[in-house]
Symmetry: C2
Subunit: 365 residues, 2 copies
Amino acid sequence: MGSARRTVRLPGPFTMRSGGVLPRVDVAYETWGALSPAKDNVLLLVTGLSPSAHARCSAEDPTPGWWEEMIGPGLAIDTDRFHVVCVNSLGSPHGSTSPASIDPRTDAPYRLTFPVLTIEDIASAAREALRALGLARVRAVVGPSLGGMTALAYAMQFPDEVDALVTISSAARATPFAIAIRSVQREAIRSDPDWRGGAYDQPGPVRGLRVARKLGLITYRSAAEWRQRFSRERVDVRTPGAGPFDVEFEIEAYLEMHAQKFVGTFDANCYLYLSRCMDLFDVAEHGGSVEAGLARIRARKTLVVGVETDFLFPIDQQAEIALLLERAGRDVRFVRLPSIQGHDSFLVDYDRFGPTVGSFLGEIS
Amino acid sequence: MGSARRTVRLPGPFTMRSGGVLPRVDVAYETWGALSPAKDNVLLLVTGLSPSAHARCSAEDPTPGWWEEMIGPGLAIDTDRFHVVCVNSLGSPHGSTSPASIDPRTDAPYRLTFPVLTIEDIASAAREALRALGLARVRAVVGPSLGGMTALAYAMQFPDEVDALVTISSAARATPFAIAIRSVQREAIRSDPDWRGGAYDQPGPVRGLRVARKLGLITYRSAAEWRQRFSRERVDVRTPGAGPFDVEFEIEAYLEMHAQKFVGTFDANCYLYLSRCMDLFDVAEHGGSVEAGLARIRARKTLVVGVETDFLFPIDQQAEIALLLERAGRDVRFVRLPSIQGHDSFLVDYDRFGPTVGSFLGEIS
């Protein structure tokens, strides 16, 4: 079984927003649906922190993608209409140039010599990748979570190249609460002796990554969901030889299972860079205020989606984006979903997300 | 400057609720206000996870206590009326018998051979300490956070010995969300190689404790408070030689300052035991349901206080305690405070907590 992942090399060196140059940048991507002869049906999908470009299965790679239920013929992101291009973020270990890549100037991995990464860089690299593929314009840019920030940055930096914008469970800038959570996640990784100041050999700071991932999982769901789902249930069988603080409650087993799946699939330094770039994102840097920054967006239609139980990217942050775009005279739809699964609802509650995204995209045809 | 801390040794071995016996138990305590000749003005104060019995300054120890603004002549907990006894929890490193104490059977520290600790044990040890001091009955038992659970357990286990109950920012049982948070805190400690399976020498797993404490701090306050207080402010001067992921935002500096204050003052194994005992607490174990458990409480008056911005012990948990006590025919006052400081409001928002607690205690005289 092959991978559907392709990689495009950007034509020249890539200058990072906060300084530093990457002499050579590759961007991994996958596509679904035919490109129209006029090349006017491109839908760019940008991702959250951890996913790869494998958003949906394909002939080359039949494993389900991270948004399998949302993308396909007749689905919310309709591959009968759109040429969907999902781009792996700059800085991600899933194929694009990242801190885990070899710096051609030194023939050694970048590790912490990788320049400071910003959301704007991720958006720019995605745009350069599309141009290298001969796609100058996007019909829609769609992104959840970190990808929702990337979508905003894309529409803000390249306002004439985006027809429609969909930003999901995202924010115009990070709150101190979210910065604090991510800071503690990074500290868990950095304080693992196996991190070695970023110069680890594989498998690297596994214990720190586990703690970081578990804390992430806590902030991706909601207390209400876990009350319904796990309550105070105990695991049936505790691990033989388990100490007094090992897994005892079902909620702990859930965290454990997901942490084990994550560790080994994600490079720790990449995690640090992608985590920090969310802290740094602030639309207000584009024009002096959040309002001025958002006013740079000229998409003809925008969909802003938020979830009431999200406490990592709380819904008032999505409401703010919608309100300020509206004040700037843009055509905005704001959808407030009552999903119980918190920030991660877009990965779970397809009954709500499917129709919400699908009906919006249906109207921009 | 001396310490006002005294220690009382319980008269015999102490049997733990989940099995195991402590052959010798000391309980550290401090007192303020005179004991009445009839010994009928005892107010027992039980604490959160980290504080010592030093709730207020005294002649022997003039340093401010952890509830300095709440206790004193004419204050909410009025030492002109009450003989206030603050008891350090069993399992805490601040003077009471704990995993850091010497097991007289082995002449070595208990460490992980300390039996499973429960909230009920903490309440029982406090009660035995009072009896050893000749105090058979309490006018009121007052506790915030973990101490609010201890106060519930006290009133439930010794219903005929408690006149009034004050439980603040507490719960009848832990939610899976709170268990998850604490589980990750414990994992940060346990995955620090310096923990050594509990057999560390001082200073022990400092890096793990730092991460645990920072995560605690995040859950003790509220996102709304931090937005007001820190917004996205940057620190003026970054540490020389700081790496790309060191403190950059004010919120990170705040976490750093508090973590540094905590580490070195709290034993890691004690932290694990006290953390776990909150997960294990479930009033429903006393009678088959939360309702039946709470119905065992026969205090003549109960005050239940909660804070709307608390997401670690969310206010519907305090509402549940009040509702079920009321259904059981008890005289209950439920106060819902709009403080912005989250779970820790009882340590900060004295303008609200002072009158709330003071007026209730005034009515039980």
